[in-house]
């Protein structure tokens, strides 16, 4: 049986529990003739492909997928899962990502057959529950942000940004106003400038001042009648509140521009201050950060966009609307920019968000923000004696360290510290963002971590720093206890292997 000696079998040594081997791909576990699938017995005649289709349409051969038993499928995927860190395994202090613990009840709700089993094309009279969820969520999001109405269609933050920019465009065009620039601070998230381009605008970058906030003078210098608007995150990506926001708003409004609020950092301010009250006209929210959607290894999310009254008529549609007491229907806003999603948005994410909001209530949401900010400040203070804090003053929900001096003095970089932290049982913080901080390490503890966990994290930082100074090789070799060690990223890009067939 010699070919067997080469074939992949069901060893568990690729899972961390027993070893550190690579896990074979499902294609290597595949054996011709094996299968897992089972379909319903339909009693329908088994016409052949040739009987049903013109020869010219027919595929020459079957699409080769894997051929595995259900048992091997389960073992393979379960082993893969054991090679993956997650919030459920421990703290995940990734700055800007809000990797909080999300209640499991939201998973249960998203799995209800009466929600998950609803076809999106079913008419409104068959989907009143869904429309009620949407209308209720929209109302809650508007209250939280201080806005008038919202679209729930955008599937993520970036989609919300682009939607918001198209709303700006529609608004200005309706006023017969042709504008071409959008102002963005240099600390902005990369999706902001990318969205601006897709929205058909040019980016004008304003620098941050030495307090880490928008440089007001520089902003005023670039304002003009061709400015469509400004995109801001507040608190910004340094975790700092833009204290001059009222003045910024006035200045932008003065030139006829609109203010766009990137709500990725909403977790810091719920119940404390509202974008609408700060003067913003358009707000997108990352429901997957603030409101209970576990991030899924990269998604899904939802990026609803809320607007002030003058923009409501342009919102994407159709929108779920309460047309009569307790009766819901789809209504198209009169001057809608159109549809931005194939159906109604990431509905199950929306349901999760509403459940999260309702469990907490207004006070609970404020408490979430308070504790998020408390935790961030606690870790800032705790670490400030050993690390340089980029802008060392009270922060909101996250804090940015700069490891520039460590690199200069010891040749150890932010990424090295990040990798070394993993050996201590923590996911790495965000590295090298925001771009304006040299050797940035950005920590967002979130509100669901306990002070004991924060202390353990701080101690892990201290261990890593100690190693950086006294045992540099260990830091450069880190992580050594993870399923794989440092990965050759350069080779991945140079010798691209993007599929199993490209090997």
């Amino acid at each position: 049986m010699s070919p067997l000696t080469q074939a992949a079998g069901g060893k568990a040594s690729s899972a961390p529990i027993m070893g550190r081997d690579a896990e074979p791909t499902i294609f290597e576990l595949s054996q011709p003739g094996r299968s897992s699938f089972q379909f319903r017995t339909t009693g329908i005649q088994a016409w052949t492909a040739e009987e049903m289709f013109d020869a010219r349409f027919l595929a020459d051969s079957k699409v080769p997928l894997a051929e595995v038993s259900e048992r091997d499928l389960v073992a393979h995927v379960t082993r893969l899962s054991h090679r993956q860190f997650s919030v459920d395994l421990g703290a995940y202090p990734l700055g800007s990502c809000t990797m909080k613990y999300n209640p499991k009840i939201c998973d249960t709700i998203a799995g209800l057959p009466g929600l998950a089993g609803v076809h999106p094309g079913a008419p409104a009279f068959l989907t009143q529950g869904w429309l009620e969820i949407m209308v209720t969520l929209e109302k809650a999001l508007c209250e939280i942000t201080g806005m008038e109405a919202a679209t729930l269609q955008p599937a993520a933050g970036a989609a919300g940004e682009l939607t918001g920019l198209l709303l700006m465009r529609a608004y200005h065009e309706a006023n017969g106003d042709i504008r071409r620039r959008i102002i963005i601070p240099d600390s902005a998230h990369g999706t902001n400038p990318a969205s601006v381009t897709l929205g058909g605008y040019e980016v004008t970058t304003v620098p941050s001042d030495d307090r880490g906030c928008v440089d007001l003078a520089a902003l005023k210098a670039v304002l003009g009648p061709d400015v469509a608007g400004i995109m801001l995150t507040n608190p910004n990506t340094l975790g700092l509140f833009e204290e001059d926001i009222a003045e910024i708003a006035a200045a932008v409004h003065d030139v006829g521009g609109l203010l766009y609020y990137d709500g990725a950092n909403l977790n810091a301010i719920m119940g404390v201050v509202r974008p609408g009250d700060m003067g913003f006209d358009i707000v997108h929210m990352n429901l997957h950060k603030t409101f209970a959607t576990p991030h899924g290894g990269g998604g899904p999310g939802a990026g609803p966009v809320a607007v002030s009254s003058r923009l409501v008529e342009f919102l994407p549609g159709p929108r779920a609307t309460e047309v009569d007491e307790g009766v819901f229907d789809w209504v198209m806003p009169p001057r809608s920019i159109g549809r931005v999603h194939g159906w109604h948005g990431n509905s199950l994410v929306l349901a999760r968000a509403l459940a999260y909001i309702e469990i907490h209530g207004g006070d609970g949401l404020r408490r979430v923000s308070e504790r998020a900010v408390l935790n961030a400040n606690w870790i800032r203070r705790r670490l400030s004696s050993v690390f340089d804090v980029a802008f060392d003053r009270p922060c909101m929900h996250e804090v940015v360290l700069s490891l520039a001096s460590l690199r200069k003095e010891h040749g150890v970089k932010a990424i090295d510290i990040a990798k070394r932290l993993m050996e201590e049982g923590f996911h790495a913080p965000t590295v090298y963002f925001p771009l304006i901080v040299d050797e940035a390490l950005m920590i967002e503890p979130t509100e669901t971590e306990s002070v004991q966990t924060l202390e353990a994290l701080a101690q892990a930082f201290e261990v890593a720093l100690d190693d950086a100074i006294n045992n540099k090789e260990a830091v450069l070799a880190a992580p050594r206890t993870t399923p794989v060690g440092r990965v050759d990223e350069a080779r991945a890009a140079r010798q691209l292997v993007q599929t199993f067939d490209a090997r």
Partner: protein
């Protein structure tokens, strides 16, 4: 007071003390008092989890149209496919669900390898060598394909078959307001795209296979048209069709986009779904979104990592190929599991079963006096356009009372006139579809009910 916050009163006091603060309010001193909300949020009090369960069960029960209550014959891009317990169990493992984007590959091999396997499977299904790690849904994937096509061809003239799902067309048109692409929609003739009027240079030509009436387009002709006009050929494909029909790649398509919901994701009232995107190697540096590549770790063990990152927004910023950041990885992981479960044979059987069910429905329909196929002679895949005597929306209402979600009223998708149908008809067109989950007995019952409902 229902929440998930660990802070005890004693810890709160001690933590504030450590910061030299005497109240939580002081944490927000940086926020100008004038801006601070001087009242609580205007919302109901927090609802404990068990009450929230009760509430959402009630909301769910108001969705009379859910597939556990009405037998689903609706398709149009969202399908009632088998969701086997094994796939659900695996895809819901919390390591996948509660992970972030795999930025630290050493502790993210699970998600990375799952995506790598997903990319391989989608590439094989599309007949193209490159696939990305997912986009939001089919419609927005098409927007990305159009953007890629314009960038690659250098022409912003985009020709869109009106056989493309009306919602997708609408989404393309919305985003073109920003990019400024010129979108030209071409009509259908006898259910298939009528390209005859297209001349001159084009940037992108988009065709759907099958189109939203179920019709199978002549993709060889589209390829020829693209060669002639210089356009990139983008196929908005039903990926299930590749189980039995030629893939977009086999026709020489440059880009395939599709909706991946059918692979392991529930109907979900339209989202989160899964945007599929595959293209030629030539376009790889214009590929939107994330891509995972194989490499090795320091010890030479096989490892995976996100690669070609210089296309992405966090690095390229305003010059990025796309603004996508968060995508739909969890659905991609589910799809890779579902496709692993289907396997080579199951994938083919799935396509055949859908085709057989649709054919059976079409056959049985031939005796109906109140409902007839709109294009009886057209070759179709798993979608049927049915002309009903009564308005389609009324038919759906009547059928619901009999226990069926009869399909989709074409007019509800187009919301207005539509170049793919002449206006007189629109309100009488019912779009129906059959998956592998429908039995002959169910279809017989449907036909019986429809005879009356369509009258």
């Amino acid at each position: 007071m229902a929440d998930y916050l660990p802070h005890t009163e004693a810890e709160l006091a001690s933590m504030l003390g450590f910061l030299g603060l005497s109240s939580t309010a002081e944490l927000f001193d940086a926020v100008p008092t004038a801006l601070q909300l001087s009242r609580g949020l205007d919302m109901a009090d927090g609802l404990p989890e068990p009450d929230t369960s009760v509430r959402f069960n009630e909301l769910a029960s108001k969705n009379l149209g859910s597939s556990d209550r009405l037998l689903c014959f609706a398709g149009s891009g969202a399908y009632d496919h088998e969701l086997p317990p094994v796939v659900r169990a695996l895809a819901s493992r919390s390591e996948f669900v509660t992970a972030y984007t795999p930025y630290q590959p050493e502790v993210a091999q699970g998600v990375l390898q799952a995506i790598f396997e997903f990319q391989t499977m989608i590439a094989r299904i599309s007949g193209l060598p490159v696939a990305n790690a997912s986009l939001y849904d089919g419609a927005t994937a098409l927007v990305e394909a159009v953007n890629l096509g314009v960038a690659s061809s250098g022409s912003s003239r985009v020709v869109l078959s009106s056989g493309v799902h009306p919602h997708w067309r609408q989404v393309v048109e919305t985003f073109a307001q920003g990019t400024g692409h010129e979108i030209e929609v071409v009509g259908l003739k006898d259910g298939l795209t009528d390209w005859s009027a297209i001349e001159g240079t084009c940037g992108v030509i988009v065709v759907a296979q099958p189109n939203y009436l179920g019709g199978l387009e002549d993709l060889d002709a589209v390829r020829a048209l693209c060669d002639q006009t210089g356009a990139l050929m983008v196929v908005a494909a039903d990926p299930v069709a590749s189980g039995v029909l030629k893939s977009p790649g086999a026709y020489g398509a440059d880009v395939m986009v599709g909706e991946g919901q059918g692979f392991g994701t529930a109907l979900s009232f339209g989202g989160p779904y899964l945007g599929l995107f595959a293209c030629t190697t030539k376009e790889i540096r214009r590929l939107p979104g994330r891509i995972v590549g194989e490499t090795v770790d320091v010890e030479g063990r096989r490892a995976y990592v996100t690669t070609l990152r210089t296309r992405e927004q966090d690095i390229r910023r305003e010059k990025a190929t796309s603004n996508v950041c968060t995508n739909q990885t969890l659905m991609a992981v589910a799809a890779s599991i579902q496709l692993g479960w289907l396997g080579t044979e199951g994938f083919r059987e799935l396509a055949l079963a859908c085709a057989r069910g649709t054919r059976y429905l079409a056959n049985q329909l031939s005796s109906s006096t109140t409902a007839k196929l709109l294009h009886p002679n057209m070759s179709t895949f798993r979608e049927l356009a049915i002309r009903t005597n009564a308005p389609a929306s009324l038919v759906i209402e009547r059928m619901a009372a009999k226990g069926f979600l009869a399909g989709i009223a074409a007019s509800s998708l187009t919301r207005g006139s539509d170049p793919s149908l002449d206006d007189a008809d629109l309100n009488h067109v019912l779009l129906a579809s059959v998956t592998e989950r429908r039995t002959a007995a169910e279809i017989d019952a449907y036909i019986l009910a429809l005879e009356e409902a369509a009258a």
